[in-house]
Symmetry: C2
């Protein structure tokens, strides 16, 4: 890696070590994040920070972590989970097109990493999009973490795969500097397709007792004899820095991007929603309308699909902004990974698919949290309310997945107005965000001027005589409203809350409602019991001493009509009514006992 990293940094790439974020700077993504030390060394050598900082590698006080994270200003996205960097690199390459820059994106992958399916998703998408501004290098050192790799040094195994996937493919000796420079030049002049440079390398090259040997992955030399011997061997191979000529001052030799003026991408305000009260609109459809509108006022907004645009309604964005719509076909990992790369370069990407299939990209969701990138996920077809398609298509763990990460905004609108408002809010919320949308049509219950700050909630029914608070969101809010109507007939009043923001959550609002309604909090969600609305509310009110009664889906569901499933799996108005009555009864018994 030292050879081609040197070639990239000091002969090939155009960048400014003091301004890594320059919009026209070439990008370097270290997909094999465990090789972080070479990345840090290259940037230090280029002048990004003092060399002596390298000695703090992996220490708690240093940002030079075990695997690269964007805590370092020269890292676009965190790597260390293999097969993700090449997906992010696609996003970076797409962004160059979006901002009409000629910057190039370079990504270095491992040979072992090539077994990850996400790499081949990226292979397809990059070729299909003809990303000739993307150059990947695979470090074929033949050794994985625990053993030899699948194909070891059989370069043809790699070459025939990448050629089959439509990449311009070059096989080189990865320790031959002229071959490296030639291959990079060939990549630069290749038009209409991305280039894969397959570099045959020897792991541990230059240290005789390690070279090409298994069992040294991620292992530091033992201090003392072993380390001294390794350093001594390397030192005999050092070439003295020339006192003049281009190599005398490597840093001065770096090609720098011109600082050309570029239009600042500032959004105009998005027009207010234009729905009629009571109008029946699925939140997934309102989502499509909203991102298309947002795209009108902000050129940074882009949308990504995985062949379900007619179900998520992201096709509305495609119609309005075809040049900023990226089709990934049925490949959720590269969709999310390339959204991460786009976000890291200033775009505001909205990747969307069925919420159930966002779990396909769960490891990318996790890494997006570590990268803290502005990716705005949307997942449609949440819960049993999708009906007949059955459990494989029902997202019942998506809230748990996104809530688990500490820095995601997690939103769950119930009607078209709140959906549209929240789409705009999430776009400008710093960091990653997730919106859950539903398949069935639901009535518009909010006026077009209503505001929905992230971290808020709406009390949609209340009186001074409420005996309990029912917290719903999405489709279950309407079950709660039906329960309200039914209970009111028997003169029982309940407070109904629309918890449209699960993360952050309005603790004070929930505690106030609990206090005002006898401490009786009932949550109802079209989601499994763990990790969703019940847990979110329970944690919010725990310090105030309140507990939560939870209605949720508690077993694997099945096909059926939406209303049948909502009933069967325990989250219907009837179940809410029953639970309110049960909670009241328990409370009465307690009061009698206390009175005795």
């Amino acid at each position: 890696m030292a050879d081609f990293t040197a070639a990239l940094f000091f002969a090939e790439m155009r960048f400014d070590p003091k301004d890594p974020h320059n919009p026209d700077a070439d990008r370097f993504v270290l997909s094999k994040g465990h090789a972080a030390p070479i990345l840090y060394s290259a940037w230090a050598e280029a002048g990004a920070f003092p060399r002596e900082d390298l000695l703090q590698l992996r220490e708690i006080g240093s940002d030079l972590e075990g695997h690269p994270t964007p805590r370092l200003n020269f890292v676009d996205v965190a790597t260390g989970s293999l097969g993700q960097g090449i997906c992010a690199a696609i996003g970076s390459a797409l962004n160059a097109r979006r901002i009409k820059s000629d910057y190039r994106t370079y990504v270095v992958m491992g040979d072992g990493e090539s077994a990850e399916g996400s790499v081949w998703e990226a292979g397809d998408v990059a070729a299909m999009d003809g990303l000739d501004n993307l150059c990947a290098i695979t470090d074929v050192n033949a050794l994985g973490q625990s053993r030899a790799t699948m194909w070891q040094h059989d370069m043809e195994q790699f070459a025939r795969r990448w050629r089959a996937f439509g990449w311009h493919t070059v096989v080189i000796d990865g320790h031959d500097m002229n071959a490296i420079l030639d291959a990079l030049a060939e990549a630069r002049s290749t038009k209409g397709q991305p280039t894969m440079i397959l570099a045959r390398t020897i792991k541990g090259k230059g240290v005789s007792f390690v070279e090409g040997k298994d069992g040294w992955h991620g292992k530091p030399f033992k201090k003392g004899e072993e380390m001294d011997r390794a350093i001594a061997e390397l030192e005999t191979q050092f070439v003295p820095v020339p006192t003049d000529g281009p190599a005398a001052n490597l840093t001065a030799h770096i090609q720098r991007p011109a600082s050309r003026p570029r239009p600042v991408e500032t959004p105009k305000p998005m027009p207010a929603p234009a729905y009629k009260m009571g109008e029946q609109v699925a939140t997934r459809e309102a989502y499509g309308v909203a991102i298309a509108k947002l795209g009108d006022v902000d050129t940074r907004v882009v949308a990504l699909d995985a062949d379900v645009k007619n179900s998520t309604f992201s096709d509305k964005f495609e119609k309005a902004h075809p040049d900023r719509f990226y089709q990934n076909f049925i490949a959720e990992q590269v969709m999310v990974g390339s959204a991460m790369g786009l976000a890291a370069r200033g775009a505001i990407p909205f990747p969307s698919t069925f919420a159930a299939f966002l779990t396909r990209a769960a490891d990318f969701v996790r890494m997006a949290a570590i990268s803290n990138v502005n990716v705005k996920f949307a997942g449609s077809h949440a819960g049993v309310s999708i009906g007949e398609d059955g459990p494989s298509q029902m997202a019942l763990e998506d809230l748990a997945m996104f809530r688990a990460e500490p820095n995601y905004a997690v939103l769950y609108p119930c009607d078209a107005v709140s959906t549209e408002r929240l789409v705009a809010a999430m776009a400008y919320h710093p960091g990653p965000a997730y919106m859950r949308t539903s398949r069935p049509k639901t009535p518009v219950i909010y006026g077009n001027d209503e505001q929905f700050p992230i971290g808020g909630l709406k009390v949609v029914r209340q009186s001074t005589d409420d005996v309990a608070t029912v917290v719903g969101a999405g489709v279950t809010l309407f079950e709660a409203l039906k329960a309200y109507d039914q209970l009111r007939e028997s003169r029982t009043l309940i407070r109904v809350i629309d918890l449209y923001s699960l993360s952050p959550i309005d603790r004070d609002g929930l505690v106030a409602a609990a206090r005002a309604t006898g401490g009786n909090l009932i949550t109802v969600e079209d989601h499994y019991a763990a990790g969703g609305i019940g847990d979110a509310v329970a944690e919010a009110v725990a310090d105030a001493g309140f507990t939560v009664h939870r209605l949720a889906v508690r077993e694997i569901p099945r096909s059926g009509k939406p209303e049948e499933l909502i009933e069967r799996f325990g989250i219907s108005a009837a179940h809410i009514v029953q639970e309110v009555q049960r909670v009241q009864k328990v409370q009465k018994v307690q009061k009698v006992q206390e009175a005795r």
Copy 2:
């Protein structure tokens, strides 16, 4: 699909419609699960169930769901999330080798589905393992859900990819019955590699106004004129059933597996653990020891790796049972998918990797829940306690992922003895299970005869004067024990619980501890705050009116020494001591207020 499904069921496959689970029966996996109606029709036609049941398709009272699930005895694993069936088929093919059966596995995939990375992970693994008992058929109908597929009818795009991945590849007209039968025969006679039949088909073949047209995916015909016309067109193409000859009775024509006697795979009891009290052993290492021992007594036990066997210690199993160890290289999706296929055919598979990278297979974890298969997951390197490698390698959401699914057993041992006992327990627990292991060495605290039933907990410190209960698991149990020692010095006694089983959870045990310790429950976990131990305990004790104080990792961590990170991210003994003191103070103030 009707053409090659007919060929498979009534000319190619060997199976018994009345005994689909026959161990020597060929397997049929419908990876493109949305084509469920043809699957159901074929089995009905074969005599598995009455034809008229087909009219209950997608109804709540029928097991003929929108996508196939193992509620039907002829379905091995649920499909409907694309790219998973081919992974399961690999497990099925590996199982044939394990039980020395010559049954073949057939899997039907979609062309759109081929964009999923998991398909190419499967491509590599099946070729590497030389699975010539596996035959895949891709239905190349050129139309995805929302638009034309990436390569439409360009068959060479598919062929060159599969050839590059080492498969024997046959391109046919998918409506030519002789070509289908010839291709299946060719697959059967191909040795040393799996076969991919690429069938060029026309979507909606036989109905003139639908044939090859976009916009009909998953759309039923409108009752009335439209449906009548479609049926009439199809009826003109019906071939009358001959009154004699082999086609006269299709069912009689099916090849049936011999019912040969086979040795019943019954396990011997596993010997008790053999650790010394106080011995320092990482639970990940104890896991490796345990699966190797379990493999000695039960031939159904198999292990799967994704090139981290030296970190998860599954290499101990490989050394003991090399023929039942399946290497997937760095490809977590196919590792888990093939474990699903193995489990569906009677094996007890233990796939393992870093717990963080199990999120790569989150959608498979989800589908394994729907399939309710006996897959026994193990995830190592949990939490910030892994240290310097940094956040990309730390699992901090794995408990949330597995707990979210309603039917997983979720286990988290703290020492070697409990690890070994729980490995045996999870192996025989019906349904899927997950074990979380840790990187650091921890002392053995349990005697070798101690029992660890799933759904239990251990009270490891208690007295009649305990002021609070601290619930830990894994590495945090030892922080709780340190806190116990520190607090005891100032004469404050706490109860300490080892919550080794998160799902199912011992509600009664937790409530009893809460009651005995002033209602003060503190949880401490090396996991993010949402979805883990805190939430599990909070839900368990909510009905009894108790709330929980949670210590958990609440922000994205970083590289550092394990003990530094445990301290910095708020889950150390010092934080527990502080929290016990804070909770006591709050309670005192409350009592004073109540007394007034």
